[in-house]
């Protein structure tokens, strides 16, 4: 967030006073809301210690419910990411192919799976594995969840990759051709690495979506992921509010770790590539969420725009 200050002048004394006033008013409103909520919850006895205590004192809550649920969430999310990323890249490249018979089917697959709710994809996958495979019933939910997530997210990632490649300067491909590279080489050695790096923020957001969407697996296909343990925790240990709060915090921390890791990774990749000048303007935690970052001349954003 270094210098969006291009949008406003350096504040003078009056502007600074006004900004301070805004800040105070804004904080007052926030504090008022927080105080009112706190009062309401206290009146209703929701904040009584006994309703929250087992989270900190009863290890069974963690070993029997939260941790197994977390493990299932991580397994499903990890598998989905590992399969969806390469598959999405393939589909994205397929949509850019010169050959109509590759481009059109790849496009159809992407558009089709992007149009259907993930919940339904999981439901179909579950039924398909029952009809046409010998996957045992205790593994089927995992397979169904992963399949549903892969089909949807690979399609979205395909669009991200495609947008990333299209956003690169034409000169990159031209230069590749000029030194005698074949089409496949240009894609794998020149375009894709740059596109993936520049689209990393969008890719990371999609990975966060994968982690969150595992929560749909508990709804119709009986996958025992993290969110589905809320009921058990509420039934056996704490109040519903406490159970919800606990699981929510875990999700936020988990996804925060994921974005931080991606930020670190991006930093590494960018350092390693210093001077090649292919990175679009990005910062770590400020990722955009959707494909289609449109390139342009020097922009209002932060970070050096080093494209040529």
């Amino acid at each position: 967030m270094s210098d969006l200050s291009v949008l406003y002048d350096a504040p003078g004394p009056r502007a600074r006073r006004r900004n301070a006033l805004y800040a105070v008013l804004f904080l007052a409103v926030l504090a008022g809301a927080a105080w009112w909520i706190y009062g309401r919850l206290t009146d209703r006895g929701e904040l009584e210690w006994r309703l929250w205590e087992p989270i900190f004192t009863d290890s069974r809550l963690w070993t029997n419910f939260v941790l197994p649920g977390l493990k299932d969430t991580l397994v499903a999310a990890g598998l989905s990411m590992a399969i969806a990323l390469p598959l999405g890249a393939l589909l994205g490249i397929g949509r850019l192919s010169d050959h109509r018979w590759i481009r059109v089917p790849a496009g159809a697959v992407v558009e089709f799976f992007r149009a259907i709710p993930v919940l339904l994809l999981m439901l179909f996958a579950n039924e398909a594995y029952f009809q046409w495979s010998s996957v045992t019933s205790d593994l089927r939910p995992l397979y169904a969840v992963v399949t549903g997530l892969v089909m949807y997210n690979a399609s979205v990632l395909a669009e991200v990759v495609r947008a990333g490649v299209l956003a690169l300067p034409r000169g990159q491909a031209d230069a590749g051709r000029a030194i005698g590279m074949r089409k496949g080489q240009i894609m794998s050695n020149v375009l894709l690495p740059q596109a993936v790096t520049s689209m990393l923020p969008a890719i990371v957001s999609q990975l966060v979506v994968i982690v969150k969407d595992t929560a749909l697996g508990g709804q119709l296909v009986q996958y025992t992921e993290l969110r589905s343990t809320i009921g058990d925790i509420d039934n056996n240990f704490v109040s519903l509010l406490a159970a919800f709060t606990l699981i929510t915090v875990i999700y936020v921390v988990l996804n925060f770790l994921l974005t931080s890791f991606a930020g670190w990774l991006e930093g590494r990749i960018r350092r390693g590539k210093r001077g090649t000048g292919a990175v679009l303007s990005t910062t770590t935690t400020d990722e955009m969420d959707v494909a289609g970052d449109v390139p342009g001349p020097p922009r209002l954003g932060k970070g050096p725009d080093t494209r040529t």
């Binding site: 419910f65 590992a82 690495p193 009986q222 058990d232 056996n236």
Partner: protein, 274 residues
Amino acid sequence: MRLRKASVLAAPLLALALTATACGGGGGDEGDGDGITIGIKFDQPGIGLRDANSEFSGFDVDVATYIAGELGYEPGQITWEEAPSADRENMLRRGDVDMIVASYSITPERAEQVAFAGPYFLAHQDLLISSDAETPTEESIGDLTLCSVGGSTSAQRMEDEYGANLQNFQTYSECLDGIVGGSLDALTTDDAILAGYAAQDEYAGELTLAGLNLSDEYYGVGLPLDSDRVDAVNEAITRMVDDGSWDRFVEENFGSSGYEPEPAPAIGSAPTTE
């Protein structure tokens, strides 16, 4: 460039490794010969609940254990599966479970898709209300805001027959706080299920049953449509009632809640045709 090549290679390898661990961790004993898989509820106190130690308790669990014992399975050979209401027919059809004992009402529609043994229990649809609230009558149900679980037959009936305002959630627990706080008037489902919630520590003394017999729900043991076990299960249920085990299970699971169920219904007493 080297890093990128490596990462491209690493992704499928990681996928393989994860698959391997997933299989190693999850691959259970599916063998039909040396065990039995039974579908129960995991979230209904008194009926079928996964407790703090991740063990199972409740009336349906006791009944299922007894029947499995009569069929020749030790308690250690039983694998419990969660059987959510909407998925029960499918679980039997797919063979995910060998039988279902999960507050499973015998209805003509369901009897077309699964085989039922029993019934082993007779419950009635009822309302769970705040202890401070006035006890409603059947006529005043239309004025109430009721809560139930989306898609359940009891919820659909309340809306269609009584014209009640209906709030649907995904689990019964989500209704309870609304009732205690007054945003909702009542939770409706079978009295046996409601009794379990009323007896929970968290709501001690705050919730009570209205005592309206709005319907007859005959709980049966669900078996696959082509099952050859119906007679054996029926015999097991008869024995369970005759040797006093049934009364003991009722006492153990409903005793503390003050709920007194009907006597055990006769085998085959549930209506299976319209």
